[in-house]
Symmetry: C2
C-alpha cells in the first residue's frame, strides 16, 4: 500500500532531504560584504581591485572549508571540486560571481556564489556524495561583460584582453593580478557537452517576484538584446524667427519616436521591453531648434523574431515621422546578443524542488545578462531567481531578506540533487 | 487739376526723393567683412575683440566721412550726429550693431549700422538737412545681450559688468577697451521721451519674407520670450528587468511632453513659436531607464497673455502625463522678457516708404531680440526687415543680396524723411 508513494517520493526528492544552513549562509554574506564596503552601504568591489582580490581569498577559504578541491583556472575563476560517486558522469556546475559594479550592492552574484559553496558545505556536513562531480565556479569580472565565463566558453579575443577595466587595469593584467594566466586561457576552456548541467542562483534585479508574491523565480531564458544609436537629423534654426510650419525640428522627431515606440511596445503582446536611456541635442542651446538629436534605443526579449519585428516596427514609425516633419532617421546597431533559453529538464526540477518546499514559483525571463548565458551555448542551463526588494539592483539599496536568500539556496541544493538523480 | 496729386505727394514723400548709393553701401559692407574674417566665410567679431575694435575704427571713419559729429559714449557705443534744422525737436535715432557671434555672418546688425551711415552720407551728399537732428548709433555687444543699448536705456547692473564676455574680457573691462567708461555709464543714458523716433533696419534672420516673396518686412513688434528649465523625475531602473508596466520612465514623460506641446503650439491660432533646444537624461546609460530628464522649453509671441496661456497649457499637459506615467514635472522659469510693439505711426511710414518704391511688404513679428526693443520702452520705435537667404543667420551662410540690402537702406532713408516731416 505504501510502495507507490515511496516510489513517487524517490523520483522527485532524495531519500533523506537535507537542509542548508541559512544562518551560516547569511553569515558568510555579511562577512563578504566587508570587502570593499562603502560608508553609505553596499560595496565597491570592481574586478581586479584590492577589495576583489581580498574577497576572493575569503571565498577560497570558504570553499576549502566546504571540502572542495580548490584551484584558480587560467582565466582567474575560482574553482572548487567535490568528486561524485560515478566518475564517468560529467560534472554539475553551480556558481556565480562576487565582483560588483562601483557602489553596488551585497547580493548581485554574491548570493549565487555563496549559496553554491553552501550546497557543497551541506553535502560535506552530511558526508553525502552526488553521483555527478559537483563543480563550484566563482567567475571573475561578470560586471565588466562576463569576462570569466566567456574566457572558459566562447573565449576572449586580444581586444578583450587589451580593454581597460574599471579597476584601471587592462583585462589581461587583471587576470594575472588575481592568479590567472592570460597567455594560457585556452587551457581553462570548457568544451560543448563537458558538463551535465549548469545551474545559477541569482537575485532577480527586477520587481516581478515581489509584485507577484513569489519566492522562487524559474527562469525561462535570458533575453536577447539589440541596441542602436539613433540619429535624427533636421535643420538647426533660430528658435524665434522660424515659424512652426517652417521647422524641421530633430527634437520633435525624436520625441515622437520615443513616445510612439513606447506605446507600441506596451501594446504588443508579450514581455518585451524597450528603453531610450541616453539622449542629447545639437547644438543644444535653448534658443536654437536642434538640427540633430542622438539617442540610444534598445529592445530585449526571449524571442529573436520578436526583436526583429520590434526593429522593423521602429523603422516604420521612424519613416512615418520622417515624412511628417521633414527629418531623417538613422539607426546604427551597436549591440546584438541572441536570447538563450533554459533547459526544460532543469527548469522542471527547479520547479519540483520549490514545490516540494511549498515555495510559490513564477516563470519569468531574465532581463539582465548572466554568466549562465555563456554556458547555455555549451550545454543544459538553468537559473533560479529570488526576489529583489523594490526591484532595485546595482545600488547600495539592493536587498533580499535572509529568508529569501536561504530559500533560494535550499532550492538550489534540492534542484542539484534532483538533477543528479537523472 | 494736378494740385490734389501734388498735395498728396507732399504728404507722403519729400519733394525731391533722393536715392541712397547701393553700390557704395555694399562696398562698405564688403570692407567691414575683412575685420575678423573667417577662412570658411563670415566673421568672428565678438564684442571687445581686436577685430571688433578695428572694425569700429573703420565704422567711425565712415561716420566722419558722412559729415557726422562723432563720439563714443560712456557705454562704448559709437555716436554720429547730424544736426537738424529745428533744434527744439528731439532726435531721430537710427542704427544697429557690428559685433557678431563666433563664426557669424556679414549681415546681422551690420546692414542696419552701415545703412544708417549711408542715410547720413546721402543727406550730406545732397546737403540736405532734416528738421530733426539725426543720431546714428552703432551699439556695442548686441550679441552678448544688448549691452550697449541696455546701458543707455534701462542701465546695466554691477552683475552685468562683472560677467565674462566671449572675448574673455569682463563686460566692464570690454567697455573700457573700446573707449567707454564703465564708471560713468549714467552719463550716457537716454531718458524717456528724449527721442522722436528710433528706427532700425535689420536682416529678418528667418525665412518668412523669402517664402512670401516680400522685399520689406514691416515689423509689428519684438516677441516676448519665456523660458523654463523643465525637470521630469521618474524612477531610474534596470532596462532589462523592469517590465514596461512597472516603469516610471522620465524619458517617456519628457518625450510625450515635447511631442504634445509641439502639436498644441501648432494648432493654436497665431504666430507663437515654442522650442525645446537642449535635453539630457540621467544617469544616461543605454541600459538604464532614466530617472531624470532635463530640458529647456521656451515660447515666444507678441502677446504676453498668449505666453501665459501657453505656459498654463504646458502645465496642464505635464499634469496629465504625470498621472499617466507616474513621473513628476518641475518648471523653473529662467528668462522672461515682455513683448514690445512697434509704433503705429512709424510702421505706417515704413509701409508708405516701401509702397512708394513699389516694394512688396509683409507685416511680421521679430522672433529675435534687437537693440530696438530696449528703446521701445522709452519712445516710438520701428523696425524694417530685409530677407535672409534660406532664413539662415548666426552662420557664415547668412546672406542678403546687394539689391535687398540697397532696397532696405532706401526704405530706411525714405522712412526717416517721412517721419521727419511729421
Amino acid at each position: 500500500m505504501f510502495l507507490p508513494l515511496i516510489f513517487s517520493f524517490a523520483l522527485t526528492t532524495p531519500v533523506h532531504a537535507l537542509s542548508i544552513d541559512g544562518a551560516r549562509l547569511n553569515g558568510t554574506l555579511q562577512k563578504l560584504a566587508e570587502f570593499g564596503k562603502n560608508p553609505k552601504g553596499g560595496v565597491s568591489r570592481v574586478a581586479y581591485s584590492e577589495a576583489d582580490k581580498n574577497g576572493r581569498e575569503y571565498v577560497l577559504s570558504l570553499m576549502k572549508q566546504a571540502g572542495l578541491a580548490t584551484s584558480v583556472d587560467t582565466a582567474g575563476n575560482l574553482i572548487g571540486i567535490r568528486n561524485g560517486s560515478k566518475p564517468d558522469l560529467k560534472p554539475i556546475i553551480i556558481g556565480s560571481h562576487i565582483d560588483s559594479v562601483p557602489e553596488g550592492g551585497n547580493y548581485d552574484g554574491i548570493v549565487g556564489s555563496l549559496s553554491a559553496i553552501e550546497v557543497a558545505q551541506t553535502l560535506q556536513d552530511h558526508n553525502r556524495f552526488l553521483r555527478h562531480t559537483l563543480k563550484v565556479i566563482v567567475f571573475q569580472n561578470e560586471e565588466g561583460g562576463h569576462l570569466g565565463s566567456r574566457a572558459v566558453t566562447s573565449g576572449l579575443t586580444p581586444d578583450d584582453l587589451a580593454l581597460t577595466s574599471l579597476s584601471g587595469k587592462k583585462i589581461g593584467e587583471g587576470i594575472g593580478f588575481i592568479g590567472g594566466d592570460p597567455d594560457r586561457l585556452e587551457q581553462g576552456k570548457i568544451a560543448k557537452g563537458d558538463f551535465a548541467a549548469y545551474i545559477e542562483l541569482h537575485i532577480e534585479q527586477g520587481g516581478v517576484l515581489e509584485a507577484e508574491k513569489a519566492i522562487i523565480g524559474v527562469v525561462e531564458g535570458i533575453v536577447g538584446i539589440r541596441r542602436w544609436n539613433v540619429t535624427v537629423t533636421g535643420v538647426p534654426n533660430h528658435a524665434g524667427t522660424t515659424p512652426m510650419r517652417m521647422r524641421r525640428d530633430a527634437m520633435v522627431g525624436a520625441a515622437e519616436f520615443i513616445s510612439g515606440i513606447h506605446k507600441l511596445i506596451l501594446k504588443t503582446h508579450g514581455r518585451q521591453v524597450g528603453t531610450v536611456g541616453k539622449i542629447d541635442a545639437e547644438p543644444g542651446a535653448p534658443n536654437v531648434i536642434p538640427g540633430k538629436v542622438r539617442f540610444t534605443f534598445e529592445v530585449r526579449d526571449l524571442d529573436s523574431k520578436k526583436l526583429e519585428k520590434l526593429y522593423q516596427d521602429a523603422l516604420s514609425l521612424a519613416h512615418r515621422i520622417e515624412k511628417e516633419n521633414g527629418t531623417a532617421f538613422d539607426f546604427k546597431e551597436t549591440y546584438n546578443t541572441a536570447p538563450v533559453l533554459t533547459d526544460d529538464f532543469i527548469k522542471s526540477q527547479i520547479k519540483a524542488a520549490a514545490r516540494n518546499r511549498s515555495f510559490r514559483t513564477l516563470g519569468l525571463p531574465s532581463g539582465a545578462g548572466h554568466d549562465a548565458q555563456e554556458f547555455a551555448r555549451l550545454g543544459p542551463m538553468g537559473m533560479i531567481f529570488i526576489p529583489s526588494r523594490n526591484g532595485v539592483s546595482h545600488s547600495p539599496e539592493e536587498f533580499s531578506s535572509p529568508e529569501e536568500v536561504a530559500d533560494g539556496a535550499q532550492v538550489l541544493f534540492d534542484a542539484v540533487e534532483l538533477v543528479d538523480q537523472r
